[in-house]
Symmetry: C2
């Protein structure tokens, strides 16, 4: 999903400024779904304005910088619904965590241990944020579904990591200096030490 579609989606839900759209994906309704940065939101909104998919009015605020509040137009709604109706590509899983941990047998035990803990923490934080997000009660039930899906995924991730934490640490290299090779002892030398395998 590109930033334009993401913005339109946010504006389907309610009028918002660029800043508020980001908050929706950071803390709010869409926090289980995606991340977007300012650097992609603001240019996206400019393009949407040129295409007449959104309109913009400026709201002056006292004590705060002015706000540009965007609203989606009927044409914008059409475009958005077309975009999400297009035949979807299968959802891709992309996890940096998995990639890193899958080389745990080359990292010192302390590193793996810290890594796992940090990942558990970050998932738990996300989970808590999702649970304590009051915004869902006001939203239509479909949005709650999405939130619950996020909850289920984070819970699975956390419980998996907790269950396998000790295993993972045991398989780590056990050396303070990680650059020499994979774990000895518990592993059958996955790759030759330095000269190139076979």
């Amino acid at each position: 999903m590109d930033a334009k579609t993401l913005c339109l989606g946010a504006l389907m839900h309610e009028d918002a400024s660029g800043y508020e759209i980001r908050k929706l994906f950071e803390d709010g309704l869409f926090s289980a779904i995606h991340d977007v940065s300012f650097g992609s939101i603001y240019p996206a909104l400019t393009v949407l304005l040129e295409r007449d998919w959104v309109t913009c009015r400026v709201a002056e605020q006292n004590g705060r910088p002015d706000k540009k509040i965007y609203s989606i137009t009927p044409t914008g709604r059409e475009a958005f619904l077309d975009a999400i109706s297009a035949p979807p590509a299968p959802d891709k899983m992309r996890s940096e965590m998995l990639f890193i941990l899958s080389f745990g047998d080359y990292l010192p035990r302390a590193d793996v241990s810290a890594l796992v803990d940090r990942y558990i923490e970050s998932y738990a934080a996300k989970l808590e944020a999702l649970q304590s997000c009051t915004c869902i009660e006001e939203a239509p039930p479909v949005r709650k579904f999405v939130n619950d899906f996020g909850l289920a995924m984070y819970e699975t991730a956390i419980s998996f990591l907790r269950r396998h934490r000790d295993d993972l640490v045991l398989q780590a290299s056990g050396e303070a200096n990680s650059n020499d090779g994979p774990a000895r002892g518990s592993n059958p030398a996955p790759v030759a030490a330095a000269g190139g395998p076979s």
Copy 2:
């Protein structure tokens, strides 16, 4: 994770050609982790070669095109381990599926139904591919961990979708032409029809 690091990771596991690296992420050991395309693999390998992080030999094959087999060097290993030891950013969840389905109340029932089914199918296909992948048995146990994590996540996703499928379809718009507005009846008018909310 950029393509260079991904390639190095693959080469930590075994010597491989660009083509084979892609297969590792498509079907093989890393299929639960990430996708990479040829367009990013080949340039990445060129850069790695310039940096002396990998070496390359050409293998002639009869009946098949020549192969360029890459091996990671000691310097490459160091660089790789440095890269994955860097303090990790919290794993981001990014799901196009969730985003699309969260607007199910604007889509016709048949579309939502088909959408959910297709997603279930695609997850199930991934799951089966992971289960039937024999490559894990030969790999060190940490790699099995990653695979199991993938399995757990896909299972959660599938069972969640199955459990909530009917709910989701019920909340859909129910109209053949989706462009008019959100579902009537079951939903309390999430957004005003066209003029802009509040």
